[in-house]
């Protein structure tokens, strides 16, 4: 098999894996937009906050230690214990549920019936507020995140492809883990929305707020629920991205990777987020592989948006988005 074809195959596989990571971020946006019509600018910061909280809990870090020390002249930093990863993930998920309740109770409950742009602005404010709170709670140093996920080249794939094709493919174990987690996450979301009472209520709210309200569904509860789920998705995205780079404040910028995925897959479709992520991942990696060297490289950031724009021109609602019909 020609060498370039093998390289392209390897790039495609890695693009698919990268696409899964993008989709994990995009999923959080979709969940909230679908249920409440809010484009949640804070989704990237939620991933950062969740990852910071997870590491903080795992390491037994005392939240707001700097403030406590400054006020009381103490030298407190750690509780002195380490929390197992699984328990820390559960506790962090609890923090994200509390965060969801606070957001609903103190922000969006007061903004019912406001214009979408007002809600969007509120999420911008929320993003910066949450970033500041994260800094005060856990500090801004870079933290190593190790929840036990394997990282590095998958030897089995490397050896198998080397024997079969004469070239060993590189696939990162972390990307494989992310793919498995994403599959379970999406399956769980689908089962939840299709087969549980709360899930059906969530779908009803997504379809028509007024109708859902008229049959006794609590909008407040549903919105807390959906922000909680989005918080959990943010935690998963934060773990996967944080394991690659350490948990640090640039983690919030992963939202930039989700935008073209949303443009392509649609803002209201969970399958759209997955398929959009895969298309963007493969598209940008193949473009960088084939065209990048001819134009000086570093094409991925802008090419993802070009690809999304191309889809938008022909299908403004995205691949899986609901078709916009204006009846006059």
């Amino acid at each position: 098999m020609p060498e370039q074809l093998l390289f392209a195959m390897e790039v495609t596989l890695n693009g698919l894996m990268a696409g899964v990571l993008y989709a994990l971020v995009a999923l959080g946006f979709v969940l909230i937009f679908k249920a409440s019509g809010i484009f949640n600018y804070a989704q990237g910061v939620m991933a950062l906050f969740a990852a910071l909280t997870l590491v903080g809990i795992m390491e037994g870090q005392i939240p707001f230690a700097h403030i406590i020390n400054a006020i009381f002249g103490t030298e407190l930093h750690h509780f002195g214990w380490h929390v197992p990863a699984l328990l820390a993930i559960i506790l962090t998920a609890g923090v994200m549920v509390l965060f969801a309740w606070l957001v609903q109770r103190y922000i969006f409950q007061h903004l019912v019936n406001q214009e979408p742009i007002i809600l969007f602005m509120a999420t911008i404010g929320l993003a910066y507020f949450l970033e500041g709170v994260g800094d005060l709670m856990w500090g801004s140093d870079i933290k190593k995140l190790d929840v036990g996920l394997p990282q590095g080249i998958n030897d089995w794939i490397d050896v198998t492809t080397l024997e079969a094709l004469g070239y060993g493919f590189f696939i990162d174990n972390l990307d494989i883990s992310a793919t498995v987690v994403a599959v379970f996450l999406v399956a769980a979301l689908i089962i939840f929305s299709q087969y549980t009472k709360q899930g059906r209520a969530l779908r009803a709210v997504a379809d028509d707020h007024q109708a859902a309200l008229s049959v006794g569904i609590s909008l407040n509860f549903i919105w807390v629920l959906v922000w909680s789920i989005a918080g959990f998705v943010a935690l998963v995205a934060g773990i996967m991205w944080g394991a690659k780079s350490g948990v640090q404040f640039s983690l919030s910028l992963i939202a930039l990777k989700a935008l073209p995925v949303l443009m392509l897959g649609g803002f209201t479709s969970i399958p759209g987020a997955i398929v959009g992520g895969l298309i963007i991942g493969v598209g940008e990696k193949l473009f960088e592989f084939a065209i990048g060297p001819l134009v000086g490289g570093a094409t991925e950031n802008w090419f993802a948006y070009v690809l999304a724009l191309l889809f938008l021109v022909f299908r403004p609602q995205g691949l899986f988005g609901e078709k916009i019909i204006e009846r006059v």
């Binding site: 894996m17 870079i142 990282q151 590095g152 780079s245 404040f249 640039s250 490289g297």
Partner: protein
């Protein structure tokens, strides 16, 4: 009487306190680069606090650090400059190449010196063109040459493949021309691999490295780009001892997330690491233990804290030189500029400060605002969790670099209508 007292008090409050030696700190304690900005800013401020607490300032005149948050954002950096320059600012150190480029014409017009230690516009080394800009003790092009020299010290470089993985910005592109010249001179093959900001996703770049199998990788990165690059290099099992970063890719922040896999990674530096120096005893006694540290006091000895402290030390030494030259204790930016241009760092001076063998010796002059371009190589020991120098401070290839400095500074002089010469 009461009115007069109030008026005098108001005037005194509104005027810059001329008795203080003012050193603005354009810091970034927030945003994606905060983890790097904080230790540098802490080191910078702590050194001046030490001088005040231990020595009563510089030459008996207290120092004052005015901190302004830039968020590593060029526009905010310029705003900070405009907001603080009237406070009697003696020298700016913006810790950002983007901000540096915007400030060069401003500081030149305002007569305030700008010190860009190991960053900024490299050709500012030519003080006959860049009268108010200094980049001692080393610059980006020196760094490129140090990296190549180090590779040459490991064996014949001719015919080798070297990849430059760089932040796709003005900063990251700085060494390209130098490396191209050096590749012609020494016969190695250079591959350029840009990484877009912020650099969280580098799969394509490291797959390319895995395919092309360069013998060595040089990195000019910053922030998350460094951590991801080191992790990806470990993932593809690129030998860490053949991976060398510029000094901005050589802090604890960059290697710790990769854990043991980062062991053996190398980075350039123009100052020493760790806290085994007499000065640090004073920093603990007069600053940290006295509760006057800029931060939590837990960063002493880290690469970026040391760099911030070293930057402050060089500014303080230049201020001392300015006081000696002018015979005045209170300084103006113009006198500070003269002090920087006459600065000489000797080992005796460093030992007297409490930093023996901490940094290279160098001498600044009108023709040479960049010092002697000496740099060393540090290597990360993941088990010990520390950097250690594996070379001494060695020179860069001035035959190549000086020509490039002359060429670039002449172009700047022509486009800015500057007549080259010494003040």
């Amino acid at each position: 009487m009461k009115f007069t007292t109030l008026a005098v008090a108001a005037i005194m409050a509104a005027s810059p306190v001329m008795a203080d030696l003012v050193f603005p700190s354009l810091s970034y304690r927030t945003g994606p680069y905060a983890a790097n900005g904080i230790p540098f800013a802490d080191g910078y401020e702590d050194y001046f606090t030490l001088l005040n607490e231990r020595d009563g300032g510089i030459g008996g005149v207290p120092t004052k650090v005015i901190e302004c948050e830039t968020g590593y954002n060029t526009e905010k950096g310029v705003e900070c400059y405009e907001a603080t320059k009237a406070e009697g600012a003696l020298v700016y150190q913006p810790l950002s190449t983007g901000i540096t480029y915007q400030l060069i014409p401003k500081v030149t017009a305002d007569g305030i010196p700008l010190h860009t230690m190991g960053y900024g516009r490299t050709s500012a080394k030519n003080g006959k063109v860049f009268s108010n800009v200094f980049n001692y003790p080393a610059n980006y092009w020196d760094g490129a040459s140090h990296a190549v020299n180090h590779i040459m010290s490991q064996g014949d470089i001719k015919g080798k493949k070297i990849a430059l993985v760089y932040h796709n910005s003005a900063y990251g592109k700085e060494p390209i021309r130098t490396l191209e010249e050096l590749s012609k001179k020494h016969g190695f093959e250079l591959t350029l691999i840009p990484v877009d900001h912020p650099g969280q996703e580098q799969k394509s770049q490291w797959l390319q490295i895995r395919r092309e199998k360069p013998d060595n990788v040089i990195m000019y990165g910053w922030g998350v780009m460094n951590q991801v690059a080191i992790q990806e290099a470990a993932n593809i099992r690129f030998p860490m001892e053949n991976f060398i970063g510029i000094w901005w890719s050589g802090s604890e922040n960059d290697v710790l997330p990769a854990g043991d896999k980062a062991n053996g990674y190398k980075a350039l530096t123009f100052h020493n690491l760790g806290d085994d120096y007499p000065l640090y005893d004073d920093l603990r006694k007069y600053v940290v233990d006295a509760g006057k540290a800029a931060g939590a006091g837990d960063q002493l000895g880290t690469a970026l804290y040391n760099r911030g402290m070293y930057a402050a030390m060089l500014a303080a030494e230049a201020a001392k030189t300015a006081q000696e030259l002018s015979g005045q204790k209170e300084l103006t930016p113009a006198l500070m500029r003269d002090g920087m241009e006459a600065l000489e760092i000797t080992e005796e001076k460093m030992a007297a400060i409490g930093l023996p063998n901490f940094g290279p010796t160098f001498k600044v002059s009108c023709e040479n605002h960049g010092g002697d371009g000496l740099g060393a190589v540090a290597q990360w020991d993941a088990t010990a969790g520390e950097w250690s120098l594996i070379t001494g401070y060695e020179g860069s290839d001035q035959d190549v670099i000086q020509g490039l400095v002359d060429e670039d500074s002449a172009a700047f002089a022509a486009e800015s209508n500057i007549d080259e010469g010494c003040k």
